[in-house]
């Protein structure tokens, strides 16, 4: 890494995330439409939706308390903070310190915690059900994510996301390809599970009984719901970019080129999610734990492969 990186470049990852994360959802929708033989909604539909939502009023349930209103705010603030520590395509994050990867996991945990509490605050059994599933699947997905990060830390001898992905080179892929590929598979499962996509959750389902994330936010409306939707897009971006960084080892050519490659990779992830959602059905709820435990086991196997 060059010592003096242009500060403008350094702040590009969060700025790009703020601006372009809703586009990822648009790309997913478009891909699904393409597979379904439809024209689909415009690429920028999510932006229109957000715009519409922030200009609406709000309806709050009489059962709810201040926690219900705090949920979307703290959740969005937490995921916004994540943007400060995530590098992109070889460009380090604005802030990098020992243990920032654990802060990232902690912030995503905080986002989930407040969302779950806000859901329970409504007293609705549907939202309780969604919250119950969310905490269950998150508890099982977290070991996989942390084991992947631990493997990368061992590989690169660093404990900060920016340094880890800066230290990850093409040589690693050529020497330890199988281990990294296993990690990649495990990470993709985590990305899909954490972002409530098929095969774990179906964001397009219309039956409350089968939802996870969508049912937890049933009672939110107006600006609150806009915060939640935007937060979800940012979370997809944050976790997606980890997988892109894993796949695209740092190349020291030009940071702008790196950013472009990262962006391309993210849109690739969005297309991939769209393809997965178009080509397979979601798993039964009872099978999802097996998938997540499987991802954790894959990550552990990958880690053992790294031990030479």
């Amino acid at each position: 890494m060059e010592a003096a990186l242009d500060p403008i470049v350094r702040w590009m990852p969060p700025v790009l995330a703020l601006g372009l994360s809703p586009l990822m959802l648009g790309i997913i929708h478009r891909t699904k439409a393409l597979f379904g033989g439809r024209r689909g909604a415009p690429l920028f539909q999510v932006y229109y939706d957000l715009w519409k939502l922030v200009h609406k009023g709000a309806v709050y349930s009489r059962t709810t308390s201040w926690l219900f209103r705090a949920g979307p705010i703290i959740g969005l603030a937490a995921v916004l903070l994540c943007l400060f520590v995530v590098p992109m395509g070889g460009v380090p994050a604005p802030v990098a310190f020992t243990g920032d990867l654990i802060l990232l996991v902690g912030l995503l945990g905080l986002m989930r915690f407040v969302t779950v509490l806000a859901a329970l605050d409504t007293g609705s059994s549907f939202e309780g059900m969604g919250a119950s599933r969310e905490v269950q699947f998150a508890a099982l997905a977290e070991p996989a994510l942390l084991l992947i990060l631990a493997g990368l830390a061992r590989l690169t001898h660093h404990l900060s996301l920016s340094e880890i992905f800066d230290g990850l080179t093409a040589a690693h892929w050529s020497q330890l390809g199988p281990a990294l590929a296993l990690m990649m598979i495990a990470l993709m499962v985590v990305v899909l599970a954490e972002n409530c996509r098929i095969p774990v959750d179906d964001p397009a389902t219309h039956l409350e009984l089968t939802m996870i994330h969508e049912v937890m936010v049933l009672d939110h409306g107006g600006p609150d719901f806009a915060f939640i939707q935007y937060g979800a897009a940012l979370k997809l971006w944050v976790l997606g970019i980890l997988s892109v960084n894993l796949l695209l080892p740092a190349f020291p050519v030009n940071p702008w080129l790196g950013l472009l490659a990262g962006l391309g990779g993210l849109f690739g992830v969005a297309v991939l999610v769209g393809v997965v959602e178009s080509t397979m059905a979601r798993l039964r709820m009872l099978v999802v734990p097996q998938l997540l435990i499987g991802a954790g086991a894959l990550a552990a196997v990958a880690l053992i492969f790294l031990l030479k």
């Binding site: 308390s65 926690l67 310190f97 902690g106 099982l140 990060l149 404990l159 009672d219």
Partner: protein, 659 residues
């Protein structure tokens, strides 16, 4: 040192006055809380001094104990454990004065006396520099807490819990007695200060001593499978006593273990593995059983087992780091463990006091009978949610700081050599992640079940917010959680001095070596998080200013008449997870199925008995009692026969000695 004695004097005087005034319970409450708080403030002066880098304080009184002497020592490690002890006992005393006001039918004077005695004896345990004094203080601590646990002595369940606690703690003390006797024989002295200089020469002997210490201190700390007294005693005790026992008293076990690790000489690698293994077992087992509980205080007790497990795992990594010549791992392991000792005291004290407020207000501890208290008890709900988020290790609260240190330790172990340390690291990373996910499930369940939604059933007396004397202690503890979460240097700078005094390979400055700038980034992230949340709140207010904001029913998919009974209960909330871990939890369900064409009633009840209690201690204990029953003929109930036994025993001993 004189400040410390003034503090001790305050507690003793307060205790004596409590007994003297036992006819006037109101006065007892008042005297007891004032004396405990005053004593804590006085004793805090030298403690803070030592933690700020002051000299070690010592005091010695020539041979006035049989086989031992009165010797006290306040070094950085002792001071570290004193801080949560003084803070939580003062808060619990203030809270307890209000809490016990409505318990006139019980012996409030005795409770005041034993509370003061418990605080004084815990201070004695931490300061004792002599093995005999240590054991005496340890025993007073166990007995006084037994009397506090059995405060409501007209309830059978409370007395049973008290007995289990008394038996368990004395079994543990038995191991400690063996430890101290062997240690004394090995070194030829009972002066704990000299043990560190003399050391234990034989590594095999050191190993035996280490295991004795793990079992003896682990019983007090609540290591699995020696934890069975915790889920019995904590629910039985008054809540402020539970807060003190769970927040501080079980940590004396950790203190003893850390102290004794310092005198056993070079640690072996297997010591570290043992502690990591025990820690992970307690951590995962504790949080799983916590998840399955319906009783709030039982849930919190199991969660203490989990947190003690995390602390033990940290100590294990500390030992692994020293034994494998990896000081960074050593620093992270020990600092994570010690930081968690203090953090857990803050948030578990807070949560037990919160649980006390709920019990006080509603008369029940059962999650499925509660609900919707958040609106009636907004203050309690606000502090409880802070405690819950802290214990789940979420930023920007103090639980995250210790979780970060512990996880970094595990990551460092994964990055280290030899392969045995790496294996421990991989296990620990996976288990820590699982534990944090499961504790998030546990505490969203607990908080959601009690405070959110609608009340699930009408309660005997309508819930009310706690009185000021109960609210302020909780508020202060919650403020502590937020302050340490936002300003980690408050904790890390003194902790660094403690580590420096702990072990030779770890020098002062270790924390700043592995953790640049005393966690300044955590301060920044906490500020940013609060700032962003504030901005978003302002933004939302602005957006909604000119828009219609209305209130309505919760959306129930078109069903217009939802009732409170339709809510998801706490039990159903965790049912998928408890089912998944059924092989470990062995929950028993009693199901009454809906029968017939027009079913009128259906019911389900589950309970999760403690696995170790049901599968290990109960069968072993019953068999033991059956075998020992054969010796019952010796008990004739005649004094003459017993005198004969004494005479015979003395004769045998005499012969043995002459031989």
């Amino acid at each position: 040192m004189s400040w410390l004695f003034a503090g001790l004097g305050c507690w003793v005087l307060g205790g004596l006055f409590s007994v003297g005034l036992s006819r006037r319970p109101r006065w007892v409450c008042w005297v007891s809380s004032v004396s405990v708080v005053t004593g804590a403030v006085l004793a805090a002066i030298p403690v803070v001094g030592v933690l700020m880098g002051g000299p070690v304080l010592q005091w010695r009184h020539g041979g006035s104990l049989p086989m031992g002497e009165l010797a006290l020592r306040l070094d950085a490690l002792a001071a570290w454990f004193m801080v949560p002890l003084l803070l939580v006992s003062a808060m619990a005393a203030v809270y307890g004065a209000e809490y016990l006001k409505s318990s006139d039918r019980y012996c409030v004077g005795g409770a005041g006396f034993f509370f003061s005695l418990l605080v004084a004896s815990m201070v004695g345990v931490i300061l004792a520099a002599d093995a005999v004094l240590f054991l005496i203080a340890w025993e007073i601590m166990s007995v006084s807490s037994f009397f506090l646990v059995t405060f409501e002595d007209d309830r059978e369940s409370v007395c049973d819990a008290g007995w289990i606690y008394l038996v368990a703690t004395h079994l543990g003390t038995g191991f400690l007695l063996a430890f101290f006797v062997l240690m004394g024989r090995e070194t030829g002295t009972l002066d704990m200060q000299r043990w560190a200089e003399l050391g234990v020469g034989d590594p095999r002997m050191a190993g035996v001593l280490f295991l004795l210490a793990v079992v003896g201190f682990g019983t007090k700390a609540g290591f699995m499978p020696f934890h069975i007294w915790l889920p019995e005693a904590h629910p039985a005790a008054p809540s402020h006593v539970s807060a003190l026992m769970s927040g501080v008293m079980i940590k004396t076990g950790i203190y003893g273990l850390v102290r004794m690790m310092g005198v056993l000489g070079e640690p072996a690698l297997w010591w570290g593995w043992t502690l990591v293994g025990v820690g992970l077992l307690s951590g995962v087992g504790g949080v799983l059983f916590a998840l399955a509980q319906h009783d709030l205080k039982r849930l919190l007790a199991y969660s203490s087992v989990e947190n003690v497990g995390l602390i033990t795992m940290g100590l294990g990594f500390g030992l692994l780091g020293i034994a494998s010549g990896n000081p960074v791992l050593g620093v992270l392991g020990f600092s994570g463990a010690l930081a968690h000792v203090a953090n857990h005291a803050l948030f578990k004290g807070l949560l037990f006091l919160g649980a006390g407020s709920v019990v006080h207000a509603t008369g029940t501890r059962f999650l499925d009978e509660l609900g919707g208290l958040g609106k009636r008890m907004p203050w309690t709900a606000a502090v409880f949610v802070i405690g819950a988020a802290s214990i789940c290790g979420l930023p920007p609260l103090n639980g995250f700081l210790s979780e970060l240190l512990l996880l970094l330790g595990a990551f460092r172990a994964v990055m280290a050599e030899p392969i045995g340390v790496v294996a421990a690291g991989i296990l620990a990373v996976g288990s820590l992640a699982l534990i944090s996910g499961l504790s998030a499930a546990t505490f969203t369940k607990a908080f959601g079940g009690i405070f959110l939604g609608e009340p699930r059933q009408p309660l005997p007396h309508p819930a009310h917010e706690s009185a000021g004397a109960m609210r302020w202690p909780m508020g202060l503890l919650a403020a502590g959680c937020m302050a340490i979460g936002g300003m980690p240097f408050l904790m890390l700078a003194p902790l660094d001095r403690v580590l420096g005094s702990l072990s030779a390979p770890i020098e002062q400055g270790g924390i700043s070596m592995v953790f640049e700038g005393w966690g300044q980034w955590l301060t920044l992230s906490a500020l940013l998080l609060w700032g962003l949340a504030g901005l978003l709140a302002v933004a939302r207010r602005g957006l909604l200013a000119s828009k219609p904001v209305t209130e309505a029913l919760t959306w129930d998919c078109g069903y217009a008449r939802p009732t409170a009974r339709m809510q998801y209960t706490a039990s159903s909330f965790v049912q998928p997870l408890t089912d998944l871990f059924h092989p470990l939890l062995r929950a028993r369900a009693q199901l009454e199925r809906p029968e017939g064409l027009f079913p009128r009633r259906a019911a389900v009840a589950t309970e999760t008995p403690d696995l170790a209690h049901a599968e290990l201690y109960k069968p072993v204990g019953e068999r033991l009692v059956a075998h020992l029953g054969r010796l019952r003929w010796m008990q004739q109930g005649k004094v003459q026969v017993y005198v004969l036994y004494v005479a015979l025993t003395m004769l045998i001993l005499l012969l043995w000695k002459l031989h």
